[in-house]
């Protein structure tokens, strides 16, 4: 494999504590040298990328995407989804198992990672916690892990039965896997299509109460607590509960408390939950329909607060592509979800960094080092020597306008069409290979 020299850029690598002008040398898919500006030796035949005036950072890591394959290729394929990831600066994505069929097996896990899928960036499959996401029978976690699964979840089909969730946590812990829960007590959300509250009432839509989310988060934390007290950690692994896409103030508060109690409970927030509120449903826009739904302004503010004060461990997109015809229907009948891979960095830089003054390194950490650490993705989320050559190069100052029609994703279901973004991705490198140039 060839050598790549990224010259003249400002390297920000929060995990390695680097923030300054550096040259980065990639060889055979790995970082082989970090040198002062102009100091890196130019190997013969090396490709040079001039990053003068640009920020160089570890490739972004999204631990919550729906790539729709196998089985739902009309919405997205692994090829198109990872092309969108590359365009958004992501070099590693963790793919949810609610495919057709669901990812219950080592075979599907390997199929998703096979070269034939044409993936632009590294795909880390997340396995189904229970067979067909039914919340009844556990899958074989050891076999899934051996095939490459990095966590288990029944995303979209929360595990409601205490005894099953207890067993999922225990088995996952034994196998050193994280458990990701989409926290929604579906007994409280039947027929609901947006956040419960005055807006839902006025629009004549049934609402999902915040309790449906935080009630299940609290239940899960109780189960983790019981597991820890029962001595499950003696086997060497600590149970890890990761709360997907938190959207309510109380859920973030519950995670905060669990951490104070010494538990390994983490959470992620999606850009739409720190930027939008239920008001964005407007005249029944199906691009504002997702699950968990857009919440109240107070909840939105709590997401921002949680990000700024550090209780939120990662920004994850919940990239959920749907074909146009699936979204061009009555609001209540439309599927949940929006795309997010190409807007996460631009929105995070625009709002978290530029507007709310979060240091650039911390924003990047939430988008790379921290999510990589959450799922134990070794050699990702940092550009320390020896790490994978996963790099994003962007212009932190450049404002640009996102146009959904230009998206690399197969689907264009986004509420951010026409939004001003900050930080244009100029180049994305996955394991030493340039996979996107902007």
């Amino acid at each position: 494999m060839s050598t790549l020299l990224i010259r003249g850029g400002h390297l920000i690598d929060p995990a390695a504590g680097v923030d300054g002008l550096k040259d980065v040398v990639l060889k055979d898919g790995r970082v082989v040298e970090i040198a002062g500006p102009g100091k890196a030796k130019l190997a013969e035949g090396a490709e040079v990328i001039d990053a003068t005036g640009l920020t160089v950072a570890p490739g972004l890591v999204d631990i919550h995407v729906h790539l729709r394959e196998p089985g739902q290729g009309h919405k997205e394929t692994i090829a198109t989804g990872t092309a969108a990831a590359a365009a958004g600066g992501f070099t590693a994505v963790a793919a949810m198992p609610n495919t057709t069929p669901t990812n219950d097996s080592p075979e599907i896990t390997r199929w998703m990672q096979a070269p034939e899928r044409g993936s632009s960036v590294r795909v880390f499959p997340i396995g189904a916690a229970t067979r067909a996401l039914k919340g009844e029978v556990l899958n074989d976690y050891a076999a899934l892990k051996a095939a490459g699964v990095v966590a288990v979840t029944d995303d979209g089909h929360p595990i409601l039965k205490d005894n099953i969730m207890r067993e999922v946590l225990a088995q996952a812990t034994r196998n050193g896997l994280s458990v990701i829960q989409h926290a929604e007590d579906t007994r409280m959300t039947q027929g609901a299509s947006m956040n419960a509250g005055p807006t839902a009432f006025r629009l004549g839509l049934r609402g999902m109460p915040p309790e449906a989310e935080y009630g299940l988060v609290e239940r899960d934390i109780r189960l983790v607590t019981e597991l820890v007290h029962a001595g499950a950690t003696k086997a060497g692994h600590q149970p890890h509960l990761h709360v997907a896409h938190t959207s309510t103030a109380q859920a973030v508060a519950a995670v905060r408390q669990a951490r104070r109690n010494g538990l390994r409970v983490t959470c992620e927030v999606a850009p739409h939950h720190f930027l939008l509120t239920e008001e964005h449903v407007g005249c029944y826009s199906t691009h504002a329909k997702m699950n968990p739904p857009l919440r109240s302004a107070a909840d939105r503010d709590a997401m921002i607060q949680g990000i700024l004060d550090g209780v939120v461990d990662a920004i994850a997109t919940d990239h959920a592509p749907h074909a146009a015809q699936e979204k061009e229907v009555e609001f209540e009948r439309a599927p949940n979800g929006i795309t997010g891979l190409e807007t996460a960095l631009g929105l995070s830089l625009r709002w978290l960094h530029h507007e709310w003054k979060m240091p650039l390194g911390r924003v990047l950490s939430l988008l790379s080092a921290q999510p990589a650490a959450l799922l134990n993705l070794k050699g990702r989320g940092t550009l320390a020597v020896g790490s994978f050559g996963d790099v994003v190069i962007f212009d932190p100052k450049q404002e640009w306008t996102f146009q959904a029609k230009d998206s690399k994703s197969k689907s264009k279901n986004t509420p951010f069409d026409g939004w001003t973004m900050q930080g244009k991705v100029k180049c994305t490198i996955s394991e030493g290979r340039v996979v996107y140039r902007g």
Partner: protein, 310 residues
């Protein structure tokens, strides 16, 4: 599509045109929209709304066609978008839509770019009903008034009783009447009237005690319990009747002068007793009658004006 898209000027214009068209010579009136094409697209059953929209459109001379979900390609899985585009291709110049999903008129308008009249969308709104209710009230409380303003209904208290949660009629009325100065009291048990309803807009209050609400009422609007939308909610109907049924005794004792409205269909013996429904204070059939005039004004507006439709 929503009463909120209508200014008070729009409302005045609709009321004025309704009176004018109602009194116009039918042969002259039938020239107004002669041979214009209007489609009625009904995904839910309806007696009053469908018939009065149809009579209104025909009264103005237009050709109407009715598409209902049970006798069309909707049964075969055709989407609202494609059904709308088909109607447009067949020459429809406006669509009157009744649909079980809230917000569906916006979808239809966006996809067809035709004027869409909302004949009831899910639990959301039923604007033409609120306008005909307003006309009925004005006829008794402010006779001759068709130009309305923020003070027109000052001093008037309208109590809406029963299944507010599932009622599009309640939403349209509670969003419209306070803008004309009326006070709206919502009355019903918590499962059918969540507290959050008061936040729908200004001028709205909740009073759980029916008799206390009645004492303050100039107008009492009774609602049917929408069994088709209860979604598993269990209600003790005997208990409901004890607390919220409008019977002769209650009316005589607490609101002997109030006007009694009901958007229909009424379930006699449940939310309202026959003696009240058929009694002297009941304006239920008068409401139905006003429906045609209001809907003539709305249909005319849809085909002759740009801007927000009801």
């Amino acid at each position: 599509m929503s009463v909120t898209t209508l200014t008070l000027e729009d409302v005045s214009h609709i009321l004025t045109r309704a009176s004018f068209l109602e009194s116009e010579d039918p042969l002259e009136r039938a020239k107004r929209l002669a041979k214009r094409k209007i489609a009625l697209l009904f995904y839910e059953s309806s007696t009053r709304t469908r018939t009065s929209f149809e009579l209104a459109a025909k009264g103005l001379g237009s050709d109407t066609t009715l598409v209902s979900s049970l006798s069309s390609s909707i049964e075969k899985g055709e989407t609202l978008k494609d059904t709308g585009l088909t109607l447009r291709a067949l020459g429809a110049e406006a669509i009157i839509l009744r649909h079980p999903n809230s917000g569906s008129p916006w979808l239809l308008e966006q996809e067809t770019r035709l004027p869409v009249l909302n004949a009831g969308d899910g639990m959301h709104e039923h604007p033409s009903q609120a306008l005909l209710d307003l006309r009925t009230m004005l006829n008794h409380l402010r006779p001759g008034v068709t130009e309305v303003g923020p003070e027109t209904l000052a001093g008037v208290t309208v109590t809406i009783v029963g299944d507010i949660l599932h009622s599009r009629v309640a939403r349209s009325n509670m969003l419209l009447l306070p803008r004309l100065g009326a006070r709206v009291i919502l009355c019903g048990p918590p499962p059918l009237l969540p507290d959050v309803a008061v936040e729908t807009g200004p001028g709205i209050e909740v009073e759980r005690d029916f008799e206390r609400a009645l004492e303050q009422s100039t107008v009492v609007m009774m609602l049917r319990i929408q069994a088709e939308r209860l979604a598993g909610l269990q209600l003790d109907l005997e208990e409901y009747k004890t607390a919220y049924q409008l019977n002769g005794e209650r009316l005589a004792k607490y609101a002997p002068k109030a006007l009694v409205l009901h958007p229909g269909p009424i379930i006699r013996g449940l939310e309202i007793t026959p003696e009240v429904a058929d009694g002297p204070q009941s304006l239920i059939l008068e409401q139905v009658h006003h429906g045609v005039a209001i809907r003539m004004a709305l249909v005319e507006r849809a085909l002759t004006q740009k801007g927000g439709q009801a």
